[in-house]
């Protein structure tokens, strides 16, 4: 027991105000097994481990949930009325260290309102052959349009299939959402949208 405690940390003992330019060390005896019996303890450890619960997860059949904030596939989010949050600013593409994101923005028109405000992301591609799942794009996104899901099963058979288009990345339409394009919530500006004042779609937003 005492062997383990004899280990000396690398600090300068003489000088109590720690001087980072100088470290001292002391020779300590290597801890080792004291007797034949102690050495034989290892056999008991491996033997008893045979009857313990295994750690293996039978993966394709059993799927354990990932860590809560695991970096998985990206998702493009929507406002509560169904309009897209992405404004096509390309900040995610610029932030990307692996050059995995390609964005082309376009203007919203009254006939074709995809997101609140002036612009929307017309083309949005993430190349999962390049993506390193660092999450810098998520940090860069000013509208919280881009987030990451916990989905990790991204293997596929061709390179083409691994370039995810906007359709693949867009989040689903939830209750109270209308599929864009449709006009903005009556009486709301894009600032209201970002402040979360819009809770769900208004009947008048539905397009003929």
């Amino acid at each position: 027991m005492s062997d383990q405690n004899d280990f000396q940390p690398l600090v300068n003992k003489e000088n109590k105000d720690v001087d980072i330019t100088s470290v001292s060390y002391e020779k300590v005896d290597q801890p080792g097994a004291k007797s034949l019996l102690k050495q034989a303890q290892g056999f008991w450890v491996t033997f008893i481990t045979m009857f313990k619960k295994v750690n293996t997860v039978q993966y394709p059949e059993v799927k354990e949930p990932t860590a809560e904030r695991f970096h998985g596939r990206h998702q493009l989010n929507r406002h509560p009325d169904g309009l897209e949050k992405c404004i096509g600013c390309e900040l995610c593409a610029w932030a990307c260290p692996a050059d995995a994101i390609y964005v082309e923005g376009a203007d919203n028109t009254p006939d074709n309102q995809m997101s609140p405000g002036e612009r929307y992301g017309k083309v949005y591609q993430i190349n999962y052959l390049r993506c390193i799942f660092c999450g810098l794009c998520i940090e860069a996104c000013p509208t919280r349009a881009l987030t990451m899901t916990n989905e990790y099963e991204l293997a596929d058979s061709t390179r083409g299939k691994l370039i995810f288009e906007k359709d693949d990345l867009l989040g689903p339409l939830r209750a109270g959402m209308l599929p864009p394009p449709h006009p903005m919530y009556p009486g709301m500006t894009d600032t209201n949208y970002y402040n979360g004042d819009v809770k769900e779609a208004h009947p008048s937003q539905e397009q003929k």
């Binding site: 300068n12 980072i20 330019t21 100088s22 470290v23 001292s24 060390y25 020779k27 290892g42 056999f43 450890v45 491996t46 033997f47 481990t49 045979m50 009857f51 313990k52 619960k53 295994v54 750690n55 293996t56 039978q58």
Partner: protein, 418 residues
């Protein structure tokens, strides 16, 4: 009727059939033991091990074998082609041959013929096993040499040095069995153990030495220096691929089974039931002894796996030191003791002389161990006088350095300076 007499009147077709069965048993046992080993080691490491191919992953090893067979068979340009091809064949053949003299059952009815499950019964059966094991070394050393590459050569040399060294200890540990049983035939040794206790108990030190040296002999963990992945890539079989590699793999596992079978035969009463369960030997017309035999073999196999799961690999010099300086002297001493005791008992001396002799031996051993201990302590306590400082400049010794200066002056820094 003893085994040799029973085997003498075997017709040719039975001998052929038995040879095929021995071969099949070795191959099937290899496949099963690869699976078993991987499963057991996995459990020791809190994993599951192979459980996908077939029920419980049982045919995993078979699938691996098929995979190996279908791989490209590569012969390096620098290799000595003929020797390169022959080497794995030598290894495997030698490994299989050892099994020919193992008595696996007592007298049984084999297709209407009263016989025993033993291919042949040589009067020098155990020596034959040692001899085939030595021939197996040729496979390893030739494989290493003919590969025309550094690591295989080193691995082959290590492996052969190892096997040769541990064979001495192994051979010596068997001497006391010969002395006690009065025979070198495997079946007679099994029979001799019926009249006394198992030799594993009677000759316990021999048993321990044999158990250690059989691990060294088969190049298995913790003595798998020849295949030390961290140092020698794959050792002697680095350059081997496809079926030739599979042959080495097969040879290794057949060797394990063979030395386990020999240990069973010599020390654990062979195919006989454990004491107290002798009535089971009559079950299934004597065939139940086969189950006893393989239970004991599998017990040894489990020990092999257990060692692999527990112990780290030894350093080469430690390993050699252990073999030559511990195992061999101890076995020599033990042979001396056993031979004397045997002489006392066969010349029917009185019990007292046995006890006097045993007492003297104990005293000598105690004396030696005390002397070794005290010399060790003396050496540890010895203070070496410091030599006078030389007149020329020398770097300070590591023990004298108490501080390391890490300067933050950019000009003093080593490495790239732009």
């Amino acid at each position: 009727m003893n085994n040799a007499q029973l085997l003498l009147d075997d017709p040719g077709w039975i001998i052929t059939l038995k040879a095929v069965i021995v071969f099949a048993v070795c191959v099937v046992l290899t496949i099963m033991s690869v699976w078993g080993e991987r499963r057991i080691v996995a459990r020791m490491q809190m994993r599951l091990g192979p459980n996908r191919v077939g029920k419980f992953g049982l045919i995993q090893a078979l699938a691996d074998g098929v995979k190996l067979a279908l791989k490209e068979d590569l012969i390096p340009a620098a290799a000595d082609k003929v020797v390169f091809v022959i080497a794995p064949v030598i290894s495997t053949t030698a490994a299989f041959m050892a099994f020919a003299v193992m008595p696996m059952t007592g007298p049984v009815n084999f297709f209407g013929e009263e016989t025993v499950m033993q291919l042949t019964d040589l009067p020098v059966g155990v020596l034959y096993v040692l001899a085939t094991a030595s021939v197996g070394v040729y496979g390893i050393v030739l494989a290493g040499w003919s590969s025309g590459s550094t690591y295989p050569l080193l691995g082959g040399l290590r492996s052969s040095a190892q096997v040769v060294s541990y064979e001495i200890a192994m051979g010596l540990s068997l001497v006391s069995v010969f002395i006690y049983s009065g025979s070198m035939s495997t079946s007679s040794i099994v029979a001799a153990q019926q009249s006394t206790w198992w030799y594993g108990l009677v000759l316990f030190p021999s048993f321990v030495i044999y158990a250690i040296s059989m691990v060294g002999e088969t190049n298995r963990a913790p003595f798998d220096l020849a295949e030390a992945e961290g140092e020698l890539v794959g050792g002697f079989h680095t350059e081997y691929s496809s079926l030739k590699f599979a042959l080495f793999f097969l040879a290794e596992y057949v060797n394990i089974i063979a030395v386990s079978a020999l240990a069973t035969t010599l020390f654990l009463g062979g195919y006989h039931a454990i004491p107290g369960l002798g009535f089971t030997e009559q079950w299934l017309g004597g065939w139940f002894t086969l189950i006893w035999f393989f239970l004991k073999v599998l017990f040894f196999f489990f020990i092999f796996v257990w060692l692999r799961g527990t112990l780290p690999r030894l350093r080469y010099d430690q390993f050699m030191q252990f073999g030559w300086k511990v195992l061999i002297p101890v076995s020599l001493l033990w042979i001396l003791v056993v031979a004397t005791l045997r002489l006392i008992s066969t010349t029917s001396q009185s019990r007292t002389s046995t006890f006097i002799f045993a007492g003297i031996v104990v005293l000598i051993v105690m004396g030696i161990s005390t002397a070794v201990d005290s010399s060790k302590k003396k050496r540890a306590a010895q203070v070496y006088p410091e030599a006078a400082a030389p007149s020329f400049a020398v770097p300070s010794l590591p023990s004298e350095i108490t501080t390391i200066n890490v300067s933050d002056n950019a000009n003093n820094r080593g490495g790239d300076r732009v």
